[in-house]
Each structure stands twice: as structure tokens, then as C-alpha cells.
Amino acid sequence: MKITPDTGWKKLPQGGVILEAGNAEQYITGSWRTFRPIRDEQKCTNCLLCWIHCPDSSIIVENAKIVGIDYDHCKGCGICAEVCPPRIKAITMVEERKTDDLK
């Protein structure tokens, strides 16, 4: 059954067990972020090191190319920027309050 924020105690699975897999996607953790990874498409070589290392699977890849970052789930840990090769440095961590949508 579908669990929503309105589901009452009579209908919840017992013991707080979550019966469906993959539901972490429904939990938006992007708001926890204080630094946002910004990728420079010109510099990026699509080596995919960031994709391998991202603990939140937030580097979106299609056909072996990075197409974006999942800001709904990226917590801003900065691992992607750290593993980006030193001569490339395509990802910079920008303070959330200085990003475009908050300026």
C-alpha cells in the first residue's frame, strides 16, 4: 500500500518496517546542503570519477555523459569536487546563499 504523510496508525505496516524498496528517493535531502556543487561543462571531461564516488547517487549520467546533478538529494558533501582531477577541477563548491536562486 502507498504510505503518505496522512496515513494513520491503523494502516501503517507494523513495527515501522518499510515494505517497499527504493523509497529513499522520496525523501528530499537536498535542503540539508550548505555548499552546492556547480559543474563547468566546458572543463568536464566526463571521466565519471564524481559519479563513482558520489555517496548519494546524485550525479546524473546518460549515455556515459554527465547531464546534471540531482539537487533534490545532493547533501553538498563536496566529494565530487575533491575527486575531480587536479588539472580539470570542473566542479566548484559554492555557498548556497551565493547561488543564483538565492541571490
Binding site: 504523510p5 496515513t7 494513520g8 496508525w9 491503523k10 501503517l12 505496516p13 507494523q14 513495527g15 515501522g16 518496517v17 518499510i18 515494505l19 524498496a21 523509497n23
Partner: protein, 393 residues
């Protein structure tokens, strides 16, 4: 039919576990529980059970392993005492909140300090709010019988809660008594095969156990957990009936002894009930209209039933083998008095703390309680709410 055999209480517990043949046992030895684990480990070593026995480095790990094994969908048992259960504390709550039907033999022992290995109920009473069902036993026969019933109670689809089978350290655990055992086959048929509701090993349907549960859902889960205790009460009675059909021995939420025509009553838990029955007989011989209520289920607490049963009494003495420091009175007393607050006719209530750290209580002590209770009834008021049995001034 089963056989009559003499054995120690701990051996009776281990024998019940052998016949139940649980999938997993994770336990750590502690006096006075040690012999349960030791005897059962021998059954494992001798290939007399199919159980996976997990040796652990502490009770915290023992209960954690039990939680993991139960979440994996197996039938799980363990045993501990006092400080051992104190070390399990965090995981006791997790087992109950995750609705895992673990059965634990708790051999009641005083908590430190100072170090004391003998009986009182401070360990289980401290854990009364952890969410476990608590059943108390009077003797080895009840330990054996209750462990077998506990498996069915814990696993019942309407209950799904862990059960603590409490029995008095040394007084029951190390005393040799005669008891009737069932045949292995009878026990196997009675407990049946365990069918888990959710299983971590069900890889076709992956489940998450114990996730983060904040202000948006935690309260609903607690509300749901509270609700399991209603059916638990009925299930304890129902399984008790089924067990008496098999064994001829009666089990319910409590046992009344000479209560029918009584105006005075003594209420207590555990092994002291045997002593109290003799005291009641002697007081009856002296013409005192007194009876005994031996409570078996402390969690769930049978409030409604006790209102029915004790509501019309003149005076009731509640004997506690534990203290709740800074509270109005002992934990059993507080529970009984709060239930009886809703009775139409409330009896006068007195509380006696007895037996801490294994201090003996004898027949004469309980006779004295009965005689004082009669004076309280005659006076028509309780003069001293809490008194202490056999403690030096």
C-alpha cells in the same frame, strides 16, 4: 503423556528451549541465568537441537543478534539476569518497537550496587516500559510451561511482541523441584512452525527494518504498538486454555487462591506465591477471610479484570519485590492502585516491600501481613502506606 522428573528451574527452562528447538539463540552467561545457557549450549554441541547458537561478547550484542535474527525471520530465544539485561537496555526497546517475537527467560536478580546475585524484581520492573510482555512464574513447572506458551503468544499475528518469562533467581532457578514434562513431539506440535510476517531474507521483497522515524510517523508507530497489548491479553488467556487442554495445567492472566469468599487479599508476583498460599491457609484456619491473587501477566496489566476481581474487597495488601525510588510506593502497588481508582468500591490498600537482594520472606512474615491487613480493615483506613518486611531498623 509426559514424564515426571526432578530438575532445577534453569534446567527446566533449558529443557523447554530444547523441545521448542528455536532457530537461533544468542546469549551471554550471567548468574543466576548461566545454567540455562550452559545446558542449552550442551544440547547444541551434542546435536540435540538444530539451533544456531551465537556466542557474543556482551548482552548488548546478545540482544542485537536476537533482533537481527528475528528480523531475518527466524524463531529466536535468549536468557539473562539483572545487570545483563541492563546492558541489553537499548536493544530491548528496539526488539519491542520493531515487533519482533523474541522469547527471553529472565532470571530475576537484584541490580547493583552493591553487587548482589540473589533475587528481587528490580531488573524486570525497571524494564516494564520497554514494550515487552512480562509473565511471572511461581515455580519450575510454570517456567517450563510458560516458555512454551510464550513462543505462541509472541508470534501470534495480533500480538507480535517479545515476551519476557520472569522467574526468581536461585529460589526457582537453582532449586530442585519435581515437574511434568511434555513429549518432544507434543511441544513441537504446540509451538508449530514459525511463519514470519516480514523477513530480511525475503530478497524478492526487500524490507527496511528500523529506519529513521521522526515527528511525522514515530507517534503513529507508538500508538500502534500500544494497541497490541489489548489482543495480547486475550491471546495469553487463549494460549493458556490450549496449553491446559494439552497438559491439564491451568494458565491465565492471574491465579486466584481462596478468593471467592474473601474480604481481604494479598497480591504478589513470582515464587512468594507458594509461601503466601500456605500463609493464607493458616490465616483461614484462624478464621481470617483472606485470599491470594498471584499475578502472572504484569505486561499487559489486566486492569479491567482486577477492578472486577478486587473492587469489592475491604482491604488489599500488595507485596512488591522491587522499589521505585522516589515514587509513591512499589511498582506493583502503583499499578494496582491506579487500576482500582476506577472501581466503584475501592478497597483500602497497603504496600509491603519485601525480599530485596534475596532477603527471605517466610510464612510467618506473610501471616503478619494478613493480620495487619485485618486491623486496617477494622480501622477503616490505611495508616502506613508503605512498610518493609524483615528489614532491620
Amino acid at each position: 503423556m509426559g514424564k515426571l522428573i526432578s530438575m532445577e528451574g534453569n534446567q527446566a527452562a533449558a529443557e523447554a528451549m530444547r523441545q521448542i528447538n528455536p532457530d537461533v539463540v544468542a546469549a551471554y552467561p550471567i548468574t543466576p541465568q548461566t545454567e540455562v545457557v550452559q545446558t542449552f549450549a550442551q544440547f547444541v554441541a551434542d546435536g540435540r537441537v538444530d539451533t544456531e547458537f551465537i556466542t557474543v561478547e556482551s548482552e548488548h550484542s546478545a540482544m542485537s543478534a536476537c533482533v537481527g535474527a528475528a528480523a531475518a525471520g527466524t524463531r529466536v530465544m535468549t536468557a539473562t539476569s539483572a545487570n545483563g539485561m541492563a546492558l541489553m537496555w537499548e536493544i530491548l526497546y528496539i526488539a519491542a518497537s520493531t515487533r519482533l517475537p523474541i522469547v527471553m527467560a529472565l532470571v530475576n536478580r537484584a541490580l547493583s550496587a552493591n553487587i548482589n546475585i540473589h533475587c528481587d524484581h528490580s531488573d524486570s520492573m525497571g524494564a516494564r516500559d520497554a514494550g515487552w510482555i512480562q509473565l511471572y512464574c511461581e515455580n519450575s513447572q510454570e517456567v517450563y510451561d510458560t516458555l512454551i506458551q510464550a513462543v505462541r503468544i509472541a508470534e501470534h499475528p495480533q500480538v507480535r511482541l517479545p515476551v519476557m518469562v520472569c522467574y526468581d533467581g536461585f529460589i526457582i532457578s537453582h532449586a530442585v523441584e519435581c515437574l511434568k514434562l511434555l513429549e518432544d513431539k507434543e511441544v513441537q506440535e504446540f509451538v508449530g512452525e514459525f511463519k514470519p510476517v516480514n523477513s530480511l531474507l525475503d530478497i524478492a521483497h526487500p524490507h527496511t527494518f528500523g529506519p529513521l522515524d521522526l515527528y511525522d510517523f514515530y507517534f503513529e508507530h507508538k500508538r500502534q504498538q500500544i494497541e497490541a497489548y489489548g489482543p495480547a491479553k486475550q491471546v495469553i488467556v487463549e494460549i493458556g486454555k490450549q496449553f491446559s487442554a494439552l497438559s491439564g495445567r491451568e494458565y491465565g492472566l492471574f491465579e486466584g487462591y481462596r478468593l471467592q469468599d474473601a474480604r481481604l487479599a494479598i497480591v504478589l508476583l513470582g515464587s512468594a506465591a507458594g509461601t503466601a498460599k500456605e500463609a493464607v491457609d493458616r490465616l483461614r484456619a484462624d478464621g481470617l477471610p483472606i485470599g491470594l491473587l498471584k499475578l502472572r501477566a504484569f505486561r499487559p496489566f489486566p486492569s479491567e479484570e482486577l477492578i472486577q476481581l478486587l473492587g469489592g474487597f475491604e482491604a488489599v495488601a500488595v507485596l512488591d519485590r522491587a522499589v521505585s525510588f522516589g515514587a509513591t510506593a512499589g511498582p506493583l502497588f502503583t499499578e494496582i492502585s491506579s487500576a482500582l481508582f476506577r472501581a466503584d468500591r475501592r478497597p483500602l490498600l497497603v504496600n509491603y516491600i519485601y525480599g530485596l537482594g534475596g532477603r527471605d520472606i517466610d510464612i510467618e512474615d506473610i501471616q503478619k501481613v494478613g493480620e495487619e491487613l485485618e486491623r486496617t480493615a477494622e480501622r477503616g483506613k490505611t495508616e502506613q502506606l508503605v512498610d518493609y518486611v524483615s528489614v532491620r531498623e
